[in-house]
Amino acid sequence: MNAIEVHNLYHQYNGRILYADLNFSIPEGTICGLLGKNGQGKTTLVNILMGFLKPTSGQCLVLGEDSHDLSPVVRSRIGLLHEGHLAYEFMTISQTEKFYRGCYVNWDPEIFFHLIGKMGLPHDQKVATLSCGQRSQVVLGVIMAQNPDLLILDDYSMGLDVGYRRLFLDVLHDFAALGGKTILVTSHILQDLEQLVETMIFLDSGGIMQIGLDDFMSSFHKYVFHNAKELKLLKDDVVSGFEQRGGQSTLYSFCDLGQVQRHLISLGVHAEKLSKVEMTLEDGFIGLMGKY
């Protein structure tokens, strides 16, 4: 059973087509990262999935219901984290807990206060006066105490220092370990995602590529070589990405070393000391999507 299903999604905004025919699904119990450069419609897609934007056409099912018209019961099974860790700033921490406790049948105040307790904040402190990191914990507390089946986290790392990011990840890992939980997450800090996600959706120019993290990290490769001349390699069947910094060139490809070597020769490129090097997810992202 899929937690999220997207069929033939078409959306345009101000005359610009963002997606022409988008199709993907996220099975229940998986952790999926949605990646894409700025302006590729990542936020729009998250908004559509969260139900705050009606697509021009196509179908988006979240836990089996149209994402734009979710029933209250299904909404109670979904935890949303909005960009910037949105919370009701006019409430204090205890008022936030009191408010949400009345909204969710399965609300677990212990989870909420456990997370808040880590920060040692007084419960009568206004959310508006909290730092971004502290607020993120309150929001996370709210989401976790709901005990949702599906989490959609829009850029959870925004504004968080490394400590709070780690804290956030710890909670997400614990949550995922409960089993049967689905998480869709976007973040600009790819090294965090590398530790968290199982599958990834790359969003680029209105199209997508969905791939398992392990598959991606094992099938996508980073090659380096030396070349004194200034080179410009365009994308083709072999070259997925290319960058040159000083005399060192970096090439990304799904092909093995031999194929890349033959391809470079056929292009007349003298690739000195061509070798495959270790690749991080961030490298892979740049290699696949480009820098801008």
Binding site: M50, R75, L80, L86, Y88, E89, G102
Partner: protein, 222 residues
């Protein structure tokens, strides 16, 4: 759930509610002392003559206070929801979205009516102390249109704040300004009274139009 919704609205409203309640009380006191002073300074029968036959409204100072009250309450409720588009949090609550918005509006309207009801009662009692009962009664039918104007302004303000497209926001603003202006038409006491049964219908229409803005918020939430 409903308790939680009302609790949230109360948290947003309580300070502003207290402030506008205080303002209303202040104006009521001012009217009371003005009338008292006038009754001492002038011949009472001449003050009566002005109130009854010249159609002077001795409670004129309260005229735009309900309008201001409605605008303040709507702003207090919906500006925090619009900052960072926090209304998305409310829309995601596990409750019917219409019901959520209805209770939001209901809490604002209740507080508005509490303020306006108390104010009207104060004016009524003041007039009853110094004038025949007919004069006090006529103040109620006169103030109803002002209270209605404040209510329409409340819904209008909510509608405009929830609206996402600027051209439509301007259009709605003009519509509601016109409707409010309509409710301030005329002069003297009871001028609008014959039209009130029809004008009262504007209130439910205005309330439902907030739902339309909220729907557009959800449809176009980029």
């Amino acid at each position: 759930m409903l308790y939680s919704l009302l609790f949230k609205e109360w948290l947003k409203l309580k300070r502003y509610f207290a402030a506008v309640l205080l303002l209303n009380c202040g104006i009521c006191l001012e009217i009371f002392f003005n009338i008292r002073q006038q009754m001492y300074a002038e011949h009472a029968e001449m003050v009566w003559y002005q109130a009854i036959h010249i159609h002077s409204l001795l409670y004129q100072d309260i005229r735009y206070v309900p309008l201001f009250t409605g605008l303040v309450l709507a702003t207090a409720q919906f500006v925090p929801e619009m900052m960072g588009r926090r209304f998305r949090l409310s829309l995601h609550l596990p409750v019917s979205r219409s019901l959520m918005l209805f209770f939001s509006l209901l809490s604002g309207v209740m507080l508005y009516l509490i303020i306006c009801g108390s104010t009207s009662l104060c004016i009524y009692l003041t007039l009853q102390k110094y004038f025949p009962i007919e004069v006090a009664q006529s103040s109620l039918s006169t103030m109803v249109s002002w209270v209605l104007a404040g209510l329409i302004a409340y819904f209008g303000c909510a509608s405009v704040l929830l609206e996402q497209s600027w051209p439509r926001r301007v259009f709605l603003l003009l519509v509601f300004v016109t409707l409010v202006k309509m409710l301030y038409a005329g002069f003297g006491y009871g001028w609008l009274a014959p039209a009130l049964p029809a004008l009262v219908l504007l209130a439910p229409l205005a309330m439902f139009s907030v739902f339309d803005s909220a729907r557009r918020f959800q449809d176009k939430g980029v």
